[in-house]
């Protein structure tokens, strides 16, 4: 078979197979997304709150499957994609969006890699290609460099022989390269080290290297300084910060309205005590939506036992006793000193799971607390009597 025929055969095979692939992949009917597919796509774009970083679509926990069910309901109920995403952002903040926005800070994310790609392509295309032999007497920085260069050109010539024998190079190109390498070899053989001398070509290349190095150095310096400076803790004098968290609880906040507290947490998002206070106010007022929002902010920063217990209780009230129980248990694992989590635990076990026997232990713990307010104690005693009768 001649060279030409085999070439045509290959071309034919490639075109035919490519056609099979392309025709096969053209959608026959306009693809209609089923509700399940749509729900899965939306769930993949939302981060599961209270999970360890997975999307709602992936999260194996009970909360994950609850939210998946909720999304399926929302899809079935005819909400648009944007409405569903907006709903989750309003409940859990922007943090639930796994896909960064196309505007604002997200722009950096989408744009910088593209810019780098363009710069990289330009840099590769702009690499100087050897134009003829290196000038004789080219200056090399050191004896090492000279030896390296001599070894490299010897290797080039040997490899060139091999490549020509294997027919890898055009004869004309090969001859041209050989001439260049031989000239370089001769030039290097005649070179002596003269560190002070210079020539235009090398100068320009050096200038570019210096410029690149300075940019790299400067960028690294700037970034390091910025990160170190910004990430450091804020000064204690700065109204309410993490630095004086323990003092914050002793101040009198009774004259401060919820709105003012909202402003404070907005300007100091990491102040956990203030958030807890605000959340507790909403929680006592029965405004569970607002309370959850604040508690979730707290939990995003710290697994705080009070927040865990109250969110657990709200989940239980909202019908998801399993997830609620999980959070209350986590709270109790962190500290047994808060009274309410024991109360929640007993109630969730008893009312949520019908587990009267399991409710006895936490209630006993509460009864043993001497400082328990009398009103609360009577409630506990009442429930204790009920569950003991039931079990």
């Amino acid at each position: 078979m001649s060279r030409r025929t085999s070439n045509y055969l290959y071309m034919g095979a490639i075109v035919a197979l490519l056609a099979v692939v392309v025709i096969g992949l053209i959608p026959r009917e306009a693809a209609v997304e089923t509700d399940a597919e749509r729900a899965h796509r939306i769930a993949s774009g939302l981060r599961c709150p209270f999970c360890s970083g997975e999307s709602i679509a992936e999260a194996p926990s009970g909360i994950g499957s609850d939210l998946r069910a909720l999304i399926a309901e929302q899809v079935a109920g005819g909400m648009s994609d944007d409405e569903i995403f907006d709903y989750y952002v309003s409940v859990y903040t922007e943090r639930v969006l796994l896909s960064p926005p196309l505007l604002g800070w997200g722009l950096i994310l989408w744009l910088l890699p593209v810019l780098l790609l363009v710069a990289g392509i330009l840099a590769v295309l702009g690499r100087r290609v050897r134009a003829g032999p290196l000038p004789s007497g080219a200056v090399l920085a050191s004896r090492d460099a000279l030896e390296d260069a001599r070894e490299a050109v010897a290797m080039d010539l040997a490899d060139l022989d091999m490549q020509e024998a294997a027919g890898e190079l055009d004869p004309a190109t090969g001859a041209q390269l050989r001439a260049a390498y031989e000239a370089e070899r001769d030039a290097l053989a005649a070179t002596v080290i003269e560190p002070a001398a210079d020539d235009g070509g090398r100068n320009r290349s050096r200038g570019r290297t210096v410029a690149g190095a300075v940019v790299l150095f400067g960028g690294a310096l700037l970034l390091t300084v910025l990160v170190v400076v910004t990430v450091r803790d804020r000064a204690p004098g700065d109204l309410i910060t993490g630095g004086i968290a323990s003092d914050a609880q002793q101040l009198d906040f009774s004259t401060i309205s919820n709105e003012e507290l909202e402003e404070t947490v907005a300007s100091h998002p990491d102040s956990i005590p203030i958030r807890l206070m605000l959340a507790a106010r909403y929680f006592t007022d029965g405004d569970y939506a607002a309370a959850s929002e604040q508690y979730i902010e707290v939990l995003n920063r710290e697994r705080h036992p009070e927040a865990l217990a109250n969110v657990g209780w709200m989940l239980h009230l909202g019908g998801d006793s399993a997830s609620g129980l999980q959070l209350v248990e986590e709270s109790l694992a962190l500290t047994g000193e808060l009274a309410l989590p024991h109360w929640y635990l007993a109630n969730i076990r008893y009312h949520g799971f019908g587990d009267a026997a399991g409710a006895v232990a936490p209630l006993d713990t509460l009864m043993a607390v001497e400082t328990l307010p009398e009103v609360f104690r009577s409630l506990v005693a009442e429930l204790l009597a009920e569950v003991e009768a039931a079990s």
Partner: protein, 676 residues
């Protein structure tokens, strides 16, 4: 007493590291390198490092709860194997392991120093400085031998003192090992492997810095560190692979890679190191890319420090949480010094790193190498940006945001396709200036094979475009490499060698090249598996009562019933599910997805059950057991998953084969070419 001895080991190692760096740098500066003067502190460093590590293990195994680390990471009922693993599973212990490994690398480098070798002495000095940092951490803010002074009422330790002479108050029991660690032995194995990779990159970094400092920027530092870079790369590859496998087999979310910052922290140095291994070939072969190689080596090392910072400082949970331990800021400063110092020195030595233009044409192997480096660097940069930007946004603007799978996937998929294409074409493109016909002749069989595989997939009803592209490119890479190899084997066979002999001889003559090709084969396999397991996987949530069954994809699952049992270190609640063919009568396996509960831990660890098959994996993950007697679980069907594990192993194997190449032996190459 144990604490005092342990801390003493750490201090001795710190002193030895200080002496080593002083002597190494002084010798490199003066040129009077005396091997004996360097080998003494290196030996002390290694022995003290090993002693500190084993001393910590001894404290753990003997349940010495007067040491805070022991009290807070183990307990009396922790099984022995996990006691051992606890030695490196938490922050302080992991730094001790790190120090010991670094001591080992220092020893191997110093052992080979010859009198008068300034470059190696300088590198030993730099490695000594790095060791000063790590042992300094152990001696100050991350002291693993802190004494417990305030035991918790039940178990564990709430307060501690640095001084080993403080009055110890040991708790009755410890807090127990991390449940995730106890859940699977892989969690004990995979971090140390990653550490070997991380620590190993200290060697090329030290040599590059020494070469810059001493103005010896020729290719010698590259020749000397070639082995170390490859060893580190192989360990990093295996570490990442095992991490992915652990995630798949143990965490119940049905995947192996979540673009989690901790995973990215391991991927970043791997990507840049991969770029370095390729660009080093260009410098060794053609004398190009001198400056670029130094940039890549400094970046790789800086990324290993960044990775440690990300995983060990708590910064991921919130940028403000990392100051809770002094280790975070210390690592951040160290990173700053490495980046600013490294690139600063690079800038100061710019006059000696520029190489003369030796590129003959962009249409050549060198050109493809440049493209490969551009792609890998871009990949690393994008992952770095996606990992760091949420932290930066939180640090600067204060609001918490997330960058997740949608972004990473969108960036990684096209970059991976471009890399696969370069992987198929690059290795058969001649150096210098490629003749178009030659390249065409060499790639067209691979193209036909790849397109054929893609067409088969399409005919087999695969409709996912990324999967088909991955199959085409993967097939192209595999076929092109195999064709090239067979041509060589046939050529060698003509000299009268048997098939097997010829097959071995081809690789033996050029282990670097063929090792690389074997790695490429592995990556092509892995790429196909990654595409199929995400593009055409089946996922279904199933709720069944006992005795009910349901058909999912080509399988049928029947819920048999729940079970509970108590094992040595955990209590297990699970369900038995019979897996059958779609006819619901041919049994395949009884599967047991379960929840494991550990003492001292309240959260149960969900553990899936996987049936690995030739065509696909069936993966069951338990979500909930309701009181009404029904069970909810997720069923996943992942086609061709074993390609991923096999591909990963083959990739690491290729790296190990490349290790066998000492220096490039010209004679064998010439001999082979005469044969061809």
């Amino acid at each position: 007493m144990i604490a005092a001895v342990g801390l003493l080991c750490v201090l001795i190692a710190l002193g030895a590291a200080g002496i080593l760096s002083w002597r190494g740098l002084a010798a490199a500066r003066s040129g009077e390198v005396n091997r004996k003067l360097l080998i003494q502190p290196a030996a002390v460093l290694l022995i003290a490092g090993i002693a500190a590590f084993f001393w910590l293990e001894l404290a753990i195994v003997s349940h010495d709860f007067s040491i805070k680390y022991v009290a807070n990471t183990t307990s009396r009922d922790t099984p022995f194997i996990f006691l051992l693993a606890s030695g490196w599973a938490a922050l302080e212990g992991s730094i001790v392991l790190w120090g010991m490994l670094l001591g080992g690398f220092v020893w191997f480098v110093v052992r080979r120093i010859r009198d008068g070798d300034r470059l190696a002495a300088g590198a030993a000095g730099i490695m000594g400085l790095v060791a000063v940092f790590w042992f300094g951490l152990m001696a100050t803010v991350a002291n693993p031998f802190e004494i417990c002074t305030a035991p918790a009422v039940d178990a564990g330790c709430n307060g501690s003192s640095w001084s080993p002479l403080a009055a110890a108050m040991a708790p009755l029991d410890g807090r127990g090992a991390n449940p995730l660690l106890q859940n699977h032995i892989l969690m004990a194995v995979h971090p140390p492997l990653l550490y070997v990779g991380y620590v190993g990159f200290t060697v090329p970094f030290a040599f590059a810095i020494a070469a810059l400092w001493l103005r010896q920027t020729g290719s010698r530092w590259l020749e000397v560190t070639h082995r170390w870079s490859l060893i580190s790369w192989v360990f990093l590859t295996v570490g990442i692979l095992l991490g992915a496998w652990w995630s798949y087999e143990v965490l119940g979310w049905g995947g192996y890679w979540a673009w989690d910052p901790v995973e990215n922290a391991a991927l970043l140095p791997w990507l840049v190191a991969t770029a370095f291994i390729h660009s080093a070939v260009v410098q060794r072969k053609r004398g190009m890319l001198q400056a670029w190689n130094i940039v890549l080596v400094i970046s790789t090392f800086a990324l290993t420090v960044l990775g440690t910072f990300l995983t060990r400082s708590g910064v991921i949970f919130s940028v403000h949480s990392f100051t809770q331990s002094a280790v975070g800021p210390a690592l951040l400063w160290f990173l700053g010094i490495v980046v600013v110092g490294g690139f600063g020195l690079f800038a100061a030595r710019a006059d000696v790193v520029g190489s003369s233009p030796r590129l003959d044409s962009l249409a050549s192997r060198e050109g493809v190498f440049l493209a490969n480096n551009l792609l890998l660097t871009l990949f690393a940069f994008t992952v770095l940006l996606g990992t760091m930007l949420p932290l930066l946004v939180e640090a600067f603007a204060g609001n918490q945001v997330t960058v997740g799978r949608p972004f990473f996937d969108r960036a990684a998929i096209p970059l991976s396709f471009a890399l696969l294409l370069a992987m198929g074409i690059g290795p058969v493109v001649p150096y210098r200036s490629a003749r178009g016909e030659i390249v065409w002749e060499r790639i067209r069989p691979g193209l036909v094979f790849g397109l054929g595989a893609g067409a088969l997939a399409v005919v087999g009803a695969v409709r996912s475009v990324p999967v088909v592209i991955a199959v085409i490119l993967g097939g192209f890479v595999v076929a092109t490499i195999m064709r090239h190899y067979l041509m060589r084997v046939v050529a060698v066979r003509r000299t009268g060698v048997g098939w097997l002999g010829a097959a071995g001889r081809v690789i033996n003559h050029e282990p670097s090249y063929w090792g690389g090709q074997i790695s490429h084969l592995g990556l092509a396999l892995a790429a196909v598996a990654i595409a199929t397991s995400s593009g055409i996987a089946v996922r279904q949530s199933v709720t069944l009562a006992a005795g009910e069954s349901m058909v999912v994809d080509e399988y049928c699952v029947e819920y048999l019933g729940p079970f509970t049992r108590v094992e040595a270190n955990r209590s297990v609640t699970g369900v038995e599910v019979a897996l059958m063919r779609a006819d619901c009568s041919t049994p395949l396996k009884v599967m047991q997805p379960r929840l494991n509960r550990y003492p001292h831990a309240d959260q149960a660890v969900a553990t899936p059950d996987v049936r690995t098959g030739f065509v696909d994996d069936v993966y069951l993950s338990l979500s909930s057991l309701t009181s009404g007697g029904t069970v909810s679980f997720d069923v996943f069907v992942f086609p061709l998953m074993w390609f991923l594990w096999l591909g990963g192993i083959v990739t690491a194997l290729g790296g190990s084969i490349a290790l066998r190449a000492g220096r490039r032996t010209r004679e064998s190459a010439v001999e082979l070419s005469n044969v061809a």
